[in-house]
């Protein structure tokens, strides 16, 4: 059960209680091979501080979507953080000059296992203008992607 969302105007926070050991969850987050499985992405390497890991989404119909994770900090069994461009990427747009958001995974103990807090912040630094691809209506997954960003923030 996704426990709670706290809302703000420029950050997203999710708190999830997990019935698994902290080390099990840490491995799922910090090991690229495991991360690939649940995140549904194909990554080009292992996570390490200061490294940029490229990925290709493996969700059906979104295989063209590429992500670039700039690994910030890895603090074993406690904290994993990376920067990236939120939502998906449009292959025709050069995002290298634009601001990234910060994604943080914070892990803590809980009576029945552990609790994971996911925070994505820094939306306030996104640019006002963005080029867009056609917005496609779809269920779940990575709908809209850069188009959503372009339309909603421009």
């Amino acid at each position: 059960m996704i426990a709670a969302t706290s809302s703000s105007t420029d950050r997203i926070e999710k708190v999830v209680e997990l019935k698994a050991t902290r080390s099990r969850v840490w491995r799922a987050i910090s090991s690229a091979k495991e991360f690939e499985t649940w995140f549904r992405v194909k990554l080009d390497g292992e996570f390490a501080e200061g490294k940029t890991v490229l990925g290709q989404i493996t969700v059906p119909n979104y295989e063209h979507v590429r992500i670039e994770m700039q690994i910030q900090k890895i603090d074993a069994e406690r904290y994993f953080a990376y920067r990236w461009h939120p939502a998906c990427t449009d292959p025709t747009v050069d995002y290298s000059k634009e601001s990234t958001t910060l994604v943080e995974f914070l892990l803590d103990d809980a009576p029945d296992g552990c609790v994971l807090t996911i925070v994505e912040s820094g939306f306030d630094r996104l640019p006002a203008n963005r080029r867009a691809e056609a917005f496609r209506q779809n269920e779940g997954g990575w709908r809209g992607c850069a188009t959503a960003l372009a339309k909603y923030v421009a």
Partner: protein
Amino acid sequence: MPVFAALADATRLRLLKRLSAEGSLSITRLSQGERVTRQAITRHLYALGGAGLVHHKRQGREQIWDLDMKRLEKARQYLDHVAAQWDAAAARLKAFVEETER
């Protein structure tokens, strides 16, 4: 100023709420009851205007400001959209670790 930066300020949020509740308002009206100076209110309004969240027009000697509902709604929708993606990812992580727990 990007939309989310425009929103991430208590005074600006208050101004938006008032415009949302009361419709078009002049700077004079918006400054009433505020502890912030009229000059500061004006600066905030221009910041919100820069992000496309409010618009103004001149009416006599006053500037009347009103909310751009679409822009605000789109900003909200965008965050909801990203939040929904995290909900889905978190659910997959939960299923993954709880099913493969050793």
